[in-house]
Amino acid sequence: MSDNKAALNAFRNDVSAWMAENVPTDPGFLLPLTFLEVGTEQQLDFLREWQHKLWSAGYLGMHWPSEYGGQGADPAYQYIVDKALAKHNAPIIFNTIGLNWVGPLLLDMGTDEEKAKYIKNILSGEEIWCQGFSEPDHGSDLGAVQTRAVRDGDDYVVNGSKIWTTLGNYADHMILLARTNPNTERKYDGLSFFLSPMKIDGVEAHPIRKVTGEYGFNQTFFTDARIPASCLMGEEGGGWMVAMKTLEYERGVTAGQASGYWGVTIQVDDMIEELSKLEHDGEPLLSDPVVRDDLVGFIMEAKALSLTGRRSGIPALTSDYPMGLALSVKYRGTEYERRMKQYTASKQGAQSALYVGDADAVSGGFWQRAYFSNFGATIGGGTTQVQANIVAEHVLGLPK
């Protein structure tokens, strides 16, 4: 046990030294806060190169099998790398859908052929993945999706539209949930799950601008797009279960993600540091008893998230609601982040109204941008309100 600890400590030192040498410096253009905001070729190329560098050094997907490009190591090592990335303010690791949703899904439920075909290129950044689940008319109610996939010889012909396709305009592949049978009694039983190519005739991704002013996701149109039948993952009609499994990885309910560093991490200490530079009534903001009390609340929330994360690994202390902490983590975490970002963005006097690009914006408009951007987390991957229903129904046993 102490050998292991020594090894981890040595590794931590090695990683820190590597980061100090290798984390790219500010490229002189705006970088995305999270993988949801990769909106320019310039950002894409920069981040792709950075991910490749990290993987080449052996620091990405370390706990994945080495035959597929991982290191076959204990997850503790990747955790150390992720922490170091945050500490060194590294650019994000952007191929998140591949790294954290598709990769674990394939390792969990994929065939050996699928693993051999896709995993390594996910890690190297050579192949980019996007997700085709939500549609304009079916977002929260995913089971009702209508994009059609019709078997025709050795292909499926796909028609329909997906929306909020993050990285869709750059992606090589899409995890696609489509309807192969429109006549089932239960809507879920007509769905199939595909590992679909993106850069083919009949598939078009149109970028959509966000409330942040930036890009990052798309509406994707399928017009008689032919995809090989071998793209089907699992059985026809078995797509819902595969999609639900994907969501477990997406929502952080189940472990196995290649890297947790898909977004700039904002700690409560960052909030305090920012507020400590501000004034109100000519006095330091942190001398205001109201602000101090508010901060106690935020610090406690951050602490609760951390302590609860640790406690979730102790069965004796979670026996009343065994899945409760895992199923409520998105609900608790993303809403806390929304409020703390809004709080910090609003305490800057008149400068609260300035945005990225104005020389007088506090910290370059970081908090305002982070706040707007946060809605990607409270809405995407199952809205906060849907998460509340999930906790209510699956943890507390309340009726639908």
């Binding site: 106690v296 302590l307 209510a392 046993g397």
Partner: protein, 357 residues
Amino acid sequence: MLLDVARGFVRDQAPIEAVRAQLETDTGFDAGTWRSMVEMGWAGIALPDTVGGAGMGVGSAVPVFEALGGGLLGTPLLSSTLAGQLIWRAAGESAADWLGRLCSGSVGTIAYLDGGDWGASNMGVALGADGALAGAKSYVADASVADVFVVVASEGGAPVLAVVERSSVADSAISENVLIDLTKRAANVDFSGVTPAEVVRGDAVSVAIRDTLLLGALLTAAETTGAANKCLASITEYLKTRKQFGKLIGSYQALKHPTVDIYVGMENARSFVYHGATIVGDEALDQDAEIACRMAKVAADEVMVFAGDRSVQFHGGFGFTWECDSTLFIRRAQWAQQMYGGAIHHRKRLASLLLDS
């Protein structure tokens, strides 16, 4: 595991009918239940084995109190535990006799508050040159069943602990408070003219008082968290069974979503309470331990008030009646939130601890 044992005991001893049966009794608890707890070693759970305790450290008391809170069980265990902590931390092995008695089931309680302000100095009771006390204490928990009072007093401005035998206190000096929470008991006690059996003095006294107040906050938070968890269960039970407009009312999001927030608040409080349990020990509490105790108290109080309040509301017309168990939870919230300091008290101190380095 201690939590399971404690919960099993509470389930057997304190079904809700048993709790209700005690509400309007003098002591608020069943003597047989208390006896059983003493026999299981709970009275000495937080004290060292050298004085007859379990030697498991004060953190081990947390799951016990969580379980007791879940049953809204009376008994003076919390009062005795804290009295034992105060004496032990101020006097150590030299107080072995007193501590031994507490471990064997003599009821101890701390007389701390002068008025109602947990943040005041509370040094209004004086120990005179004649060896007698002058002054009264308020809201002394379990006063009417206490065998031993540990009175926080001032001797020429220095804090001392005046350990008083119940036999030295006239019945007329004890004036029972009318509490909202009928699962608890407290009284004002006039100690004027009373000569303590022993006086604990010295440098360790003020730290002992400070730490015991923090442990009081933590153990109250543990009890409260258990109660909030039980309250949550009673709410979800109702939401899963009561129908209106042809549907189970738990399907309505106006009820469903706040119940989720009660659940989240309860889990947060549990995390704080168990964190506190792991970092408090026999030695003086450091800053991290102080922060942990205060956060636990704030979090537990907040969820208890919310849960009790929503429990009344979500039980509809029935929730407004004495018969509905919501009344027990909302009343427990009113007791617990002030005990050992309320939100304002702890949050103000947390602001300094967390923000002023």
